[in-house]
């Protein structure tokens, strides 16, 4: 219990020290752009690949369920249901969990390696505010650009569902596009993007905490990286429940 409270306290202090005005704006801008490249642009391929295939799988499953239904459901509803599932759950949550694995392990291991090779000590001794220098660009890159990744994921997922129908011949182009044009409440989009921003913050900060506080050598960095991914996923799932109850409940 004491360990848990200490960890929560350390995490809060790290966030507090991170969220400050950068010591040098031009250096911060350079670091921020590098993080956008490492955390966002480098994740684009994985997001596109996962979204396309899962969009197709969701659409096929919807079609099979509607087909097996005891009362007739118009095939156009495959498009609508796929869109709703992608907005509400798949794009913000599942893609965030995928990113927690990819980006989370990268953040924890890169900061952890800097810690064990004394690079962070070197910066501290120079007078650099290391949480601000190392963590803030990651928080901003994730919080500002993860919504863009999720929006791309949504578009690709819909396209995946559309393509599945064209390949299998289970639904026509007109049926699917009619479905996706059906009314969707704005609240669904708001809910999806609020979730994305919260998850992005968790993806950037929890692995940063594990990397920043690691002690030991490469083995400990590996362990910290695994723990960071696991706890980020746990907190994504818990916060999803809380947000769903708050926004849709």
């Amino acid at each position: 219990m004491k360990k848990l409270l200490t960890a929560i306290g350390e995490y809060c202090l790290l966030i507090k020290d991170s969220i400050n005005i950068p010591q040098k704006r031009n250096v911060f801008w350079r670091t921020f752009m590098r993080e956008v490249n490492d955390l966002i642009i480098n994740s684009l391929g994985l997001v596109v690949f996962t979204s396309g295939f899962v969009g197709a799988v969701v659409a096929i499953q919807m079609f099979n369920n509607f087909d097996a239904s005891s009362f007739p459901i118009p095939t156009a509803f495959v498009g609508y249901a796929t869109k709703a599932v992608l907005i509400l759950e798949f794009c913000p949550t599942i893609i965030s969990l995928v990113l927690a694995g990819k980006v989370g392990s990268y953040i924890a291991s890169s900061i952890g390696t800097m810690r064990v090779t004394e690079q962070i000590d070197a910066m501290d001794i120079m007078g650099v505010n290391t949480p601000n220098f190392l963590v803030l660009p990651k928080i901003l890159a994730s919080v500002l650009f993860n919504p863009l990744l999720i929006a791309i994921s949504f578009v690709i997922g819909i396209f995946g569902g559309y393509a599945a129908g064209m390949i299998t011949g289970n639904w026509t182009s007109t049926q699917f596009t009619t479905g996706i044009q059906m009314y969707t409440p704005n609240l669904f989009y708001i809910y999806a993007f609020i979730k994305t921003v919260v998850f992005a913050f968790l993806i950037a900060t929890i692995p940063s905490y594990y990397g920043y506080t690691v002690k030991g050598g490469s083995l400990e960095v590996g362990r910290a990286s695994t723990q960071a991914v696991v706890w980020t996923m746990v907190f994504i799932i818990i916060s999803e429940l809380v947000l769903t109850q708050m926004i849709l409940g």
Binding site: K24, T117, E118, Q119, A122, D124, I125, G127
Partner: protein, 257 residues
């Protein structure tokens, strides 16, 4: 000048530093020596502010580090250059970016001016054409030079080096020692070096502090070591058969004179 007054540091129940008092003068090479586990690194990290001392004080030109506020400490840290045992170069930056980093963070110089300063320092540490390379693409000796260049680029008043010769071959170690001597004279820095290297002890140690089990066992210069009467120091410095023989010869020579 750095003065250390009755410095103590404990980790939970273990007292690692047991009341060390000494001083390190400007423009001199000060060596801290001792067996592994004697408290050298903890001592250096207390001086650097990485570890908070349990008691005692450290004065940087009369400014007590212990009672300094966050901003004063930040300011003092810009006057400190550090060379870590493993060099601690930033992996994602080139040699030039590593050296330029303190200038980027703590000065308002233009890129052209920074480039000029970096080129001068690169020349001083003889890094040749390595400026566009990443730390992983250069040798251990060159990494140490980059670390030294990064430590001195901001004209520090105080230079700290933790085992600058570790992992280097004897001839590269000599080059690094000569470089540190040159920099200390040139920049008039208070240089403190943690070392195991007996060649450094014999050739550049203007002041030597010998730590044993967290206590200052002896202090003096490289000239005093030969005739020192502390058996622990003698056993540590002249531990190999070759060094024992050398000491015997030097003492005989001195007696004959």
């Amino acid at each position: 000048m750095i003065e250390v007054k009755n410095l103590k540091k404990s980790f939970e129940d273990a007292e690692v530093l047991k009341g060390i008092s000494t001083s390190f003068e400007d423009g001199k090479i000060n060596l801290v020596i001792g067996q592994s586990g004697s408290g050298k690194t903890v001592f250096l990290k207390c001086l650097l502010g990485v570890f908070e001392p349990s008691s005692g004080d450290i004065l940087f030109d009369g400014r007590p580090f212990g009672s300094m506020g966050k901003e004063d400490r930040q300011q003092l840290r810009t006057e400190i250059g550090t060379v870590f045992q493993g060099s601690a170069l930033f992996d994602s930056m080139t040699v030039q970016e590593n050296i330029m980093f303190p200038l980027d963070m703590f000065t308002n110089m233009t890129y052209r001016d920074k480039k000029k300063v970096v080129s001068k320092v690169i020349g001083q540490v003889e890094l040749g054409n390595a400026e566009k390379k990443l730390p992983s693409e250069i040798s251990g000796g060159m990494q140490k030079r980059v670390a030294i260049a990064r430590a001195i680029v901001n004209n520090p008043k105080y230079l700290f080096c933790d085992e600058p010769n570790s992992g280097l071959d004897p001839s590269t170690s000599i080059v690094i020692d000569e470089l540190l001597t040159y920099i200390t004279e040139q920049y008039k820095t208070t240089t403190i070096i943690n070392t195991h290297d007996m060649n450094s002890v014999m050739t550049i140690g203007e002041k030597i502090v010998y730590l044993r089990n967290g206590i200052k066992e002896w202090e003096g210069s490289m000239h005093d070591i030969l005739t020192a009467d502390n058996k622990y120091l003698i056993n540590f410095v002249y531990s190999s058969a070759l060094f024992k023989e050398l000491r015997k010869t030097l003492l005989e020579k001195r007696q004959n004179l």
